[in-house]
């Protein structure tokens, strides 16, 4: 254990230490001054973001091979810290308005972000599991943050039970991989496969179980059943954060597992992941068509986007692996920005006791608050993948990778599903601009800043998509 070990995971440590500090600070903060906890958390995340951006992208392992630091993990560190910062911005006014401003929210959020960052750094199956639990357990608690609200309790319990179930899959998968290769370290597993001492049957069963476990986290169909209920019952700022960040963390684990650990199983796993991708795109988009609650609509939308991302995951074991990872990271960034923006509008429009969440309640909102309305329009267009938005380039790169690696069927399904999705995304805009209603939205500095800033980012970054793709392409994984 040397100082270099700690430097390798510096962003993670900064975030986790801040989480502990906020926890201690919170008990000494008087009632009504809990905003200081939010401020502290924001500073910690900004420091974590700085640490991730300032770090020299090197590749190496630390803590006796338990964690790895490479371009991929640094990219994800920066992404999670940034999403976390926006997540705090979403939460601050919301909880003040709901009279539930408590420091624990920020502490748990920071712990969860630390777990997500650790997921990118994991170089050992046990670390994957530790990161999975560290990111999940705070989210279970936060889903039930409205203790007195029945929907919130239901969300927490449902998320906890199904999350524990999926953790079980991951654990069984780890056990099978260990049985097949006598190692839980990624290097050891790769070496065992290379020199032929691995039992490929056990390895395949283990890999399949691990894929199922993480498919729960990215809410791929048929493991998506928890998503709409949890997203609906959890506090809206949390849902916004969760749908952007947890998905990225789940895909981080899947990318590293499929690219680094199981390249030998590519042919066996590709049909499974392809099936998941097709099912997720079709089911997510079709069920979203009939939703009338904005939170459920965005939940199914997030399932559908997991489907598009899974196309990239199929291509990870093809000759276009580098492009596939870059396209997925690009897509995750684009989706996170548009998604956080969309949730900032939802948070602004939500009234006490969970009212103001039906599409009906959005009637006339766009004309009354033109900035919010235009921002929502931009986000919805980005979700559909209309040109001049970040979402367009994300889908373009993903489908291009699919065609490069010969996945014509999936690309066609993806494009068709995007066309279908235009209906329910544009319906939100139609309600906001072309219906009359009494809807009111909160005028809060942070929420407006997030909405307008995200909308600007979606449009402006779409002008220079090549540069962002370049950054994503440098986020390479360490292959032993």
């Amino acid at each position: 254990m040397s100082i270099n070990d700690f430097l390798a995971i510096l962003p993670v440590l900064v975030v986790l230490v801040t989480g502990v500090l906020v926890m201690v600070a919170d008990v000494f903060l008087p009632e009504g001054r809990k905003g200081i906890a939010a401020l502290l958390s924001g500073l910690g995340l900004a420091a974590g973001l700085g640490a991730a951006l300032a770090a020299v992208p090197s590749t190496g392992t630390a803590f006796a091979g338990m964690v790895v630091a490479d371009g991929f993990s640094l990219f994800l560190d920066a992404l999670f810290a940034a999403v976390g910062l926006v997540g705090i911005g979403l939460a601050y006014d919301y909880f003040k308005r709901m009279r539930l401003q408590r420091g624990e929210y920020y502490t748990l959020l920071l712990f969860s972000i630390g777990g997500m960052m650790l997921m990118g750094h994991a170089n050992d199956l046990v670390m994957f599991f530790l990161a999975l639990e560290l990111l999940s357990i705070p989210l279970y608690i936060l889903s039930g943050f409205f203790r007195a609200r029945l929907a919130s309790q239901e969300a927490a319990l449902k998320y906890f039970l199904l999350g524990a179930f999926s953790s079980g899959f991951v654990l069984y998968g780890i056990a099978m991989v260990f049985g097949g290769t006598a190692s839980i370290n990624l290097e050891g597993i790769v070496a065992a496969v290379r020199d032929g001492s691995a039992n490929l049957t056990f390895l395949l069963v283990g890999a399949a179980l691990l894929v199922v476990g993480f498919a729960f986290k990215v809410s791929a169909v048929p493991f998506h059943a928890w998503t709409p209920d949890v997203y609906e019952g959890a506090p809206s700022p949390l849902t916004g954060f969760m749908s952007s960040a947890t998905k990225a963390a789940g895909f981080a684990a899947l990318i590293r597992l499929l690219l680094v650990v199981f390249p030998a199983l590519g042919e066996n796993l590709a049909p499974v992941v392809s099936g998941l991708a097709a099912l997720t795109m079709i089911a997510g988009n079709l069920i979203a068509l009939v939703q009338t609650n904005i939170k459920r609509l965005l939940a199914y939308s997030s399932i559908a986007h997991a489907g598009y991302l899974l196309i990239g995951l199929v291509a990870v074991n093809s000759s276009a692996a580098g492009d596939a990872v870059a396209a997925m990271l690009f897509y995750l960034v684009g989706y996170a920005i548009a998604n956080l923006g969309a949730w900032s509008v939802v948070v602004a429009a939500e009234q006490a006791e969970g009212r103001g969440l039906e599409l009906e309640d959005y009637s006339g909102l766009g004309r009354k608050y033109p900035w919010l309305g235009v921002a929502m329009l931009v986000f919805m267009l980005s979700f559909i993948g209309v040109p001049l938005t970040l979402g367009f380039w994300g889908k373009l790169y993903l489908f291009r990778v699919a065609l490069e690696s010969g996945l014509f069927g999936l690309a066609v399904i993806g494009i068709a599903a995007s066309l279908v999705s235009a209906y329910y995304y544009l319906r939100v805009v139609v309600y906001m601009f072309f219906r009359d209603g009494e809807g009111v939205a909160r005028r809060d500095v942070w929420l407006n800043l997030i909405a307008i800033g995200s909308a600007a980012a979606v449009v402006l970054m779409a002008l220079v998509p090549g540069d962002l793709l370049q950054v994503a392409a440098q986020a390479v994984l360490r292959v032993p």
Binding site: M1, V20, M23, V24, V27, F28
Partner: protein, 118 residues
């Protein structure tokens, strides 16, 4: 390798067999005169009152969780203490970090009033 476990399996089977025989003999030859009182659940010889599953005060759970926290601390500290000379200063630092984190948890529980019984 599995053969080493064969004696264990034999002991397990014998234990199972002895248990089954003992119960079987009692079942076959024992006199059975059940009364209401005899078939009732045993509660230290008293007449049972109320159902067996009663609600516990939620405060006990809090105490139990705090107990687990410090119980695990002891497991780590003892295993560390047996090799304290071999692991040296890095081990000491790691232990200090671990205990520091636990102390933070303790402080949090204390300030939140989890240690008060009212």
């Amino acid at each position: 390798m599995l053969q080493e476990y064969l004696p264990l399996l034999i002991i397990f089977l014998i234990a199972l067999l002895v248990g089954i025989i003992a119960m079987l003999l009692g079942y076959l030859f024992g006199p059975k005169r059940p009364t209401r009182r005899k078939s009732a659940p045993y509660e230290s010889g008293m007449v049972p009152y109320g159902p067996g599953r009663r609600r516990m005060s939620v405060r006990f759970y809090l105490i139990a969780v705090l107990f687990i926290l410090f119980d695990i601390e002891v497991i780590f500290v003892i295993s560390w203490a047996t090799v304290v000379r071999q692991v040296g200063v890095p081990g000491l630092i790691a232990m200090a970090i671990f205990l520091g984190l636990l102390e933070v948890a303790h402080l949090y529980a204390w300030k939140k009033g989890a240690l008060e019984w009212e």
